[in-house]
């Protein structure tokens, strides 16, 4: 948080201008922290701030109350300049119970604002959080942070005295009290939240009344309570003009599919098996039956990919989303699509760890699986969105490439992009590239594996076309005729053709954007959801005059044709990833460059601060 000049406050209390702030709401999974955070993000966005969010919740649906593993949190960074990440260290932490304090305190900056709900700091909750004494009684806490002990529960109950609800129902409104309070502290407008509450509880006027009152009570408490001596203003960010909305990565993926279905006028079959953190794509698709996208909840991951291969054989677009464990199960199906040269798109919303791992945490460790995790030579196109909103464009692009080249495409999203939200400039659909689809109907000179000269794609034939009846399958095909072939030279040829077809997708890739000087001391190369962290860290270092640049890859297979040339313009290459070094391995192998990795595999986004230090260290190290 960098302090700006104090502005003449219109409020009774002085208002200090900031250019950014990082706020985290933390509480029990039943405390409504996700809703609170989402609403605060909406308020911040309405006031024109740029922002990035980081929801973080336990894998357990109803974790026992008060426990450390049951803590749910929602973090966001908002600011008047471009915001790339949800922030590393917190300027403000709201802890609704002792467990939340225990889990999150270490992320709060020294001198940061700490708001605690004192009512929750009683024996039972302290025991569950493993405190032997009440941490609020420890003077060290007050020395280190600007601690505000607020009896949020009692203040909420008092505000709702006349509302016809029972004690438990009233108590559940306390998250809106905290939201109101933080809204006042950061001068965010509460109108969007009032509107949201009114709509959300339309069927129950008492809940509308209660939550609205709690929200306003919190806001007014900030205004009047003497413990709060100042509030903070953040000017609107300079963002491209236009109509904005908030969007999460999973919703953007789903909408990208709908956009492609609308543009191609083709049926899309979406086959999926529920899995965290990809299920929301299935939920979103299932809501939109009017858009020509037919969703199947398949019996398992293998069937899910099977259904979309069947759909693609039928002349529809086959799409599915899953996460690592599910993608592993789909390998055989993907290879059938490789062999049969059918267009399918698979989203891998990556999560952390092998096996079940950490289902609700993020990671980028499926890159090598996407590229190579199938039997034999199995080339597929691999793309990766950089931000939640980018998921829309990458989903659309994946479908475009799949049908143009008759090839499977894997898109690597992750848990962070999936549930993270950002203000999104709503695109004009007319600006999206066209997705030309032509089905072969002419029997003259037809064979299942004759190829387009430019793309090497084989013809897409809809069953039902007279005169083009043909048989395909997973056995090796003779080029052109598509007949089963065990011929050694033909197999060698087909292996090369399948690879070449994917390589030719490179002609679709626009010139790589270099963020920073076109040559210099260090190039930072990333892919996927680390875009924000890398950009923020690189821009910080650039401000100190260093010749550092970054590129962020959306195409991972094939790689951009100009990448090799760009890599050679820098002394050193650093590849930050949330894995133990996967892209770095590929860059070293493909380009014979001495790239080094920056790797943290903690189930969380990379820390901007740590990355900046790593960049600075690398610049200091003489070769």
């Amino acid at each position: 948080m960098s302090d700006a000049v104090a502005s003449p406050a219109t409020a009774a209390k002085p208002r200090r201008q900031l250019d950014r702030a990082v706020v985290r709401f933390a509480g029990d999974s039943g405390d409504g922290m996700q809703v609170t955070g989402e609403q605060f993000a909406t308020e911040a966005a309405w006031a024109g701030a740029d922002l990035v969010t980081l929801p973080n919740f336990p894998a357990e649906i109803r974790a026992p109350a008060g426990t450390l593993f049951g803590v749910s949190s929602y973090q966001l960074q908002f600011g008047s300049r471009r915001v790339y990440t949800p922030g590393d260290r917190l300027d403000c932490l709201v802890a609704m119970n002792p467990a939340a304090l225990k889990v999150h305190q270490r992320d709060l900056k020294d001198g940061g604002l700490l708001i605690v709900n004192t009512a929750a700091f009683e024996k039972k909750n302290l025991d569950r959080a493993g405190y032997t004494s009440n941490p609020l009684d420890d003077p060290a806490l007050e020395d280190r942070y600007r601690l505000h002990k607020v009896d949020i529960t009692r203040l909420t109950m008092d505000a709702l005295e006349s509302v016809p609800l029972n004690v438990k129902e009233k108590e559940r409104c306390k998250n809106f009290f905290s939201l109101g309070l933080v809204s006042w502290i950061y001068t965010r407008p509460i109108e969007p939240t009032v509107a949201w509450i009114t709509k959300r509880f339309a069927k129950n006027p008492a809940f509308v009344e209660a939550n609205t009152r709690a929200l306003k009570a919190g806001y007014h408490y900030g205004e009047t309570a003497e413990i709060f001596t100042e509030c903070y203003g953040i000017e609107p960010a300079e963002m491209p003009p236009g109509l904005y909305r908030s969007i999460t990565g999973n919703r953007a993926l789903a909408w990208g599919i709908l956009a492609a279905a609308e543009r191609t006028k083709l049926t899309v079959v979406y086959g999926a098996y529920p899995i965290t953190p990809a299920s929301d794509v299935l939920h979103e698709i299932s809501l939109h039956k009017r858009f020509g996208v037919r969703a199947i909840q398949a019996e398992d991951e293998i069937a899910a990919v099977g259904t979309i291969i069947g759909a693609a054989f039928g002349g529809a677009i086959g799409v599915c989303a899953s996460s690592g464990p599910g993608i592993a199960l789909k390998a055989e199906g993907v290879n059938l699509a490789v062999m049969a040269e059918l267009p399918i798109v698979i989203f891998d919303v990556q999560r952390a760890g092998p096996s079940t791992g950490l289902p609700t945490k993020t990671e980028q460790a499926d890159l090598l699986m996407a590229l190579h995790g199938r039997n034999s030579e199995s080339p597929v196109v691999v793309l990766a969105p950089m931000t939640p909103g980018d998921c829309f464009f990458v989903a659309y692009e994946a479908i475009r490439i799949a049908v143009k080249y008759m090839v499977p495409v894997i898109v690597l999203s992750d848990g962070y992009l999936a549930s993270g939200a950002e203000p999104w400039l709503i695109p004009d659909l007319k600006t999206l590239p066209d997705i030309p689809v032509s089905f072969r109907t002419n029997p003259e000179g037809f064979a299942p594996y004759v190829r387009d000269e430019a793309t090497l794609a084989r013809p897409w034939v809809r069953p039902g076309t007279a005169g083009l009846e043909h048989r395909i399958g997973g056995l090796e095909k003779e080029n052109i005729t598509g007949n089963v072939s065990y011929d050694a030279d033909n197999h060698d040829l087909m292996v090369r053709l399948r690879a070449e077809k994917v390589r030719r997708v490179a002609q679709e890739i626009p010139p790589t954007t270099v963020n920073g000087p076109a040559a210099g001391d260090l190039l930072v190369v990333g892919w996927g959801s680390t875009y924000g962290t890398i950009t923020a860290a690189v821009e910080e270092v650039q401000q100190s005059g260093k010749a550092v640049a970054s590129v962020h890859l959306r195409h991972l297979n094939p790689l951009p044709p100009d990448l090799g040339q760009i890599l050679r313009q820098y002394e050193r290459i650093l590849v930050p990833e949330i894995n133990s070094g996967q892209l770095v391995r590929i860059l070293r192998a493909e380009y014979l460059v001495d790239a080094v990795g920056f790797n943290r595999v903690r189930g969380l986004p990379l820390s901007t601060e740590e990355l900046r230090e790593a960049i600075e260290q690398l610049l200091k190290d003489k070769r």
Binding site: A259, R294, I296, G306, F313, G333, P427
Partner: protein, 338 residues
């Protein structure tokens, strides 16, 4: 299917592809292929609207030999692939060809779900009680104690009855037929192909290389008489020699074999192929205590999965019009900058 003019009158030859058939000489699959090719013209469906989808195994080579659209897929997954195809293209007639290993071992899950969903596909399961393409290991329908390459001391696996499995999964059409009775097989396959919803046919098939005469009780003239129970809707369940007919009676839920001459005619079990409860009992009958039922065990009507989904789609469009992505993008909370 929207056919405006009368479909071309096909002959068996129209359904023969140009590929050499590569099954072992003497394989039961030849008879099945021939019966299906002979039956196809009766369906009155344009050839281009027919798709055969198979998994892996000897039976799954089937699509290559049919001059229709065909997809030889991966082991056990044909039902899932067929489900996706039907949802994308409800105008197509889809057949699934599978075997006892493909359908009941590696693909058991998919077979279960295609049947319970009642996807409108015709499923032909060739049951030769052995893995043929991998050269002779026991299959999920091999008898307990079966000696094979992978079970030299006898298989410890108890076999599954494909028809009982299908009924348990909620199939709406279940039949059994034998490769050596081509005329009867043709008739059963036609009825299956004409069923609305998932039709399941177990075809008892001979693998003359790895499990020759596995169904000999139904082939051998002598034993066949006492072991084959022809199911005919509305007729008593009878078998045995002409001069000593045997029948079945149900005592509570327990079936029992009786000599017709010893039983009052009213007591005999009359086959009702609309009775799902009795079909479960029929599916459990096997030698040596009972004859093997051949024919249609059960056929009932139920909505097909993809039709229910498509009806939901039609209803949503009827109510609110076709989707408009531009409108969707600006739905909910938006704000303007600049």
């Amino acid at each position: 299917m929207s056919v405006t003019e009368a479909p071309k009158k096909y002959t068996k030859k129209d359904f023969e592809s140009d590929q050499d058939v590569r099954w072992c000489p003497g394989c039961g699959d030849y008879a099945i292929l021939s019966a299906i090719q002979k039956m196809m013209p009766d369906l009155g469906i344009p050839r281009e609207n027919i798709v055969f989808i198979s998994g892996i195994g000897c039976s799954s080579r089937f699509p290559y030999y049919m001059n229709t659209y065909g997809f030889h897929t991966i082991h056990g997954r044909a039902p899932a692939i067929a489900t996706g195809l039907r949802l994308a293209r409800p105008d197509l007639k889809v057949f699934v060809v599978t075997g006892d290993g493909d359908g009941l071992s590696i693909g058991g899950n998919h077979l279960l779900h295609v049947l319970r969903r009642n996807v409108n596909v015709t499923i032909l399961l060739f049951n030769n009680r052995i893995y043929g393409l991998t050269k002779g290991q026991y299959s999920p329908t091999s008898e307990l104690g079966k000696v094979t390459k992978s079970s030299p001391a006898g298989s410890a696996d108890r076999p599954v009855s494909p028809c009982a499995f299908a009924l348990g999964a909620g199939a709406t059409f279940v039949a059994r037929t034998v490769d050596r009775n081509v005329a009867y097989m043709e008739e059963t396959l036609r009825r299956a192909a004409q069923h609305h919803g998932a039709a399941f046919v177990e075809i008892l098939q001979n693998c003359n290389v790895y499990n020759d005469l596995a169904w000999n009780v139904l082939y051998d003239r002598e034993t066949k008489i006492m072991n084959e129970l022809r199911l005919e809707h509305g007729k008593p369940l009878l078998f045995g020699p002409v001069d000593d007919r045997h029948g079945l009676v149900l005592e509570g839920a327990t079936p029992r074999v009786v000599r017709v001459k010893d039983a009052p005619e009213r007591a005999l079990w009359v086959h009702d192929d609309g009775n799902t409860w009795k079909a479960h009992v029929l599916s459990q009958l096997c030698t040596p205590d009972f004859p093997i039922p051949i024919g249609i065990l059960m056929q009932v009507e139920a909505p097909a999965y993809e039709e229910v989904l498509l009806e939901q789609e039609r209803a949503a469009i009827a109510e609110r019009g076709p989707g408009d992505v531009a409108k969707l993008l600006v739905s909910g909370d938006t704000w303007r900058i600049g």
